[in-house]
């Protein structure tokens, strides 16, 4: 599918570019803008990002696949990220993770059929002092137990 940036986003891109002495460093910011607009980073998106930054598509691909926060395939409307790293693990991170898997019927990297939820087991999110945690898109939910997870998922369904 063809992808072009909206005029507003092109303005935002120019603002990001202005932070650096050259265009290329803006790539991480531009990829975020692209992901916000498209939901994920498709090859068409990479092509367009390469075009606006005078970069090679190959370089964009190398960057997108290096950083975990750029989605190389579509994710659900609510992308659930469960931390299972040590501090969360010690406080029940895997219980939360397994519960979410069971509740949504998807595995790591999966998307529910209604495309509402996707799941990712993530590395330490910096919530060790408020573990266990789950992030929904960009928002953290911390100090969780199973009941709260159920509440969060239910409330998201009604959103």
């Amino acid at each position: 599918m063809e992808f072009t940036f909206t005029p507003e986003n092109l303005n935002r891109i120019n603002e990001v570019i202005s932070h650096y002495p050259e265009k290329r460093p803006a790539v991480m910011g531009v990829l975020y803008i692209a992901q916000e607009q498209n939901g994920w980073i498709s090859y068409e998106v990479m092509k367009e990002v390469a075009y606006v930054l005078d970069m090679k598509e190959e370089e964009i691909l190398g960057i997108v696949s290096f950083y975990t926060m750029y989605h190389e395939k579509p994710v659900g409307k609510f992308h659930l990220q469960v931390c299972t790293n040590v501090s969360c693990m010690l406080r029940g991170g895997y219980k939360i993770y397994d519960h979410v898997k069971e509740k949504l019927g998807i595995e790591n990297g999966g998307v529910t059929e209604d495309k509402l939820f996707s799941l990712e087991e993530v590395e330490c999110m910096g919530s060790c002092g408020t573990a266990p945690m789950i992030a929904v898109n960009e928002d953290y939910f911390e100090n969780l137990n199973i009941q709260q997870i159920d509440q969060i998922i239910e409330s998201l369904k009604n959103k």
Binding site: Y43, M46, E57, E58, E59, L61, G62, S65, F66
Partner: protein, 561 residues
């Protein structure tokens, strides 16, 4: 010059040189995978870790600058233990498929595993798997399992070919190399990545599974794909050229050659359509003849025309020696002034790296040794016009396919009364010829060619013919080539009855009552050096493996148009 100590030996270095560079200059190779002299330093393989006195940690020899008085150990317990450790890491996920891997025999990983590896594996887990047999481009195949992520190919594309067509993707041991979806590794120099790949991850689709490399004999030669004259190795098995690889010459091609040179310039040598003996036209068709019969026929035919009715066309594909004798033959024996050669120029082929618009290997040399019209003689256009007008009745053409060069000439040249041709392969031109002499290709003879910079370089026979005996000529052999034994793989190869053009001309002049005294190409060259200023002081030894410059002030660069 400042010095440092490497394993007890004093090594001289220049300011700014790294340990590995200085060591290499002194003939010591510190093991390495990712480092390559003409690429940027990436420091990722860690095989070149060395111990340096007063440094707390081991350092990589590829990025550490040599310093006066530095004491370096590349074979100390610490250095060896690190190298063994790195080798073990390189091998844990590397497939043990050397028996079916094209790289085997010229694989750095294999070599180092033998010299620095443990010999057995402590790795008892499932290996990481990646994509295999990925055609990265029309000429290069990728095996992800074998890749050791040294990044040489990526750096080559970025820095030398200037086409960033390859990239790493992902992280950790999932890292692999890809082209962008829908795009290919298809730059004019793409196959060089197969040479610099230290393992069998990148292989040539042109050469894959054709031979084990240790069966190949390797002969130092020059690419004839254009006037750059990239230094190459001709690699031969069973008397067949199976691949060309670039040979380092910093003055000419560094470590590289173009894909065109590599895949398009050797197949005619092995081709079925080689001219395999002299041919005479009888009852409208070319028929095989013996050499003496062909010489006699050519001699008597040539004698039946006046000198102004005969024109000679030399060849930018033939050697200086061939062209020199042709020029002598034309001016001294026939006495004609009508002489030239065909310029093959292709602007779209040339680039600002290696490839030259003049797509012949020796137009400089052809002109320099005398292939040009004498005073009042006709040049190529003049000759063509005179053939058309019937003033020129006989043309003697050496090693060029005139008709393919200009199909319009077919009609004009069919008017000729006599058309004598030296050819390596049957072609459009031999179809019109009355007499065809089988010429040796550049891979079958001694000789010299001059590149567009005026650099004289040597050709040596890599393929045996009736004319060049591999034992007498001292041709290089592979370890499988044992004369007369059942391992003598050359015995099975096809040997052709072809001769160097200068030798054909010498035979013909003998038949015409004028005997040339030359026994070898080298003797012809000695005569060139004696009689042509630009070549003075040169001989085969001076030219050596890397060539030598002509005295350029004494010869003007031929104008190619």
């Amino acid at each position: 010059m400042p010095k440092f100590i490497l394993d007890g030996k004093e090594i001289e270095f220049e300011q700014g040189q790294t340990i590995i560079q200085a060591a290499k200059k002194s003939g010591i190779t510190i093991p390495h995978f990712c480092w390559h002299e003409s690429l940027s330093i990436s420091g990722n393989c860690r095989v070149c870790l060395v111990e340096i006195e007063k440094m707390p940690k081991l350092a990589i020899a590829c990025s550490t600058l040599a310093a006066e008085g530095m004491v370096v150990y590349s074979e100390s317990d610490k250095a060896l233990s690190a190298r063994n450790a790195v080798m073990e890491f390189e091998l844990i996920n590397h497939p043990l498929d050397c028996p079916i891997c094209d790289e085997a025999g010229e694989c750095k990983l294999q070599d180092y595993a033998y010299s620095h590896g443990n010999g057995e594996s402590r790795f008892n887990e499932e290996k990481a798997h990646k994509d295999k047999r990925v055609p990265l481009g029309p000429l290069v195949m990728f095996d992800g399992d074998r890749c050791i992520s040294c990044s040489r190919c990526i750096r080559f594309c970025d820095e030398i070919a200037k086409e960033s067509q390859l990239t790493f993707i992902k992280r950790g041991d999932r890292v692999t190399i890809v082209t962008y979806p829908g795009k290919q590794l298809d730059n004019p120099y793409s196959m060089n990545v197969t040479d610099i790949c230290p393992v069998g991850a990148l292989t040539s689709r042109d050469f894959r599974f054709k031979a084990r490399v240790w069966e190949l004999s390797s002969t130092k030669s020059i690419c004839n794909g254009c006037s750059r004259g990239c230094n190459i190795n001709l690699e031969v098995r069973n008397n067949q050229v199976l691949r060309l690889t670039p040979r380092q010459n910093d003055e000419v091609n560094s470590f590289w050659m173009c894909d065109h040179g590599r895949v398009n310039t050797y197949k005619f040598i092995n081709a079925e359509d080689r001219v395999d003996s002299p041919y005479l036209r009888r009852k409208g068709a070319l028929a095989r003849s013996g050499w003496d019969e062909a010489f006699a026929a050519a001699s008597s035919e040539l004698k039946s025309y006046s000198k102004n009715e005969i024109a000679f066309i030399g060849s930018p594909y033939a050697t200086c020696e061939d062209n020199f004798i042709l020029s002598k033959f034309a001016t001294q024996i026939i006495g004609t002034k009508h002489m030239d050669f065909i310029r093959h120029f292709n602007t779209s082929f040339g680039d600002n790296f290696l490839r030259q618009g003049d797509v012949t290997p020796n137009s400089f040399g052809a002109k320099a040794v005398g292939i040009f019209p004498g005073k009042g003689g006709l040049d190529l256009d003049g000759i063509i016009k005179a053939v058309k007008d019937g003033q020129i009745k006989a043309v003697y053409l050496m090693e060029d396919d005139m008709i393919a060069f200009n199909p319009e000439l077919q009609e004009i040249f069919s008017k000729l009364d006599l058309f004598i041709v030296h050819a390596t392969n049957f072609n459009k031109t031999t179809e019109l010829a009355d007499i065809v002499f089988p010429a040796s290709t550049y891979a079958e003879k001694h000789g010299t060619i001059v590149n567009s910079d005026g650099r004289v370089q040597r050709l040596k026979p890599a393929v045996a013919t009736f004319d060049v005996d591999r034992a007498l000529e001292g041709m290089s052999l592979s370890r499988w080539d044992k004369f007369g034994t059942k391992f003598d793989s050359w015995a099975e190869g096809n040997k052709r009855d072809a001769r160097s053009s200068w030798r054909i001309l010498a035979g013909l002049s003998g038949a015409m009552g004028h005997k040339y005294k030359y026994g070898t190409a080298e003797e012809v060259f000695m005569d060139i050096a004696k009689s042509i200023n630009a070549f003075s002081g040169l001989d085969y030894e001076v030219i050596g493996e890397l060539g030598a410059k002509l005295k350029l002030d004494s010869v003007t660069k031929p104008v190619i148009a």
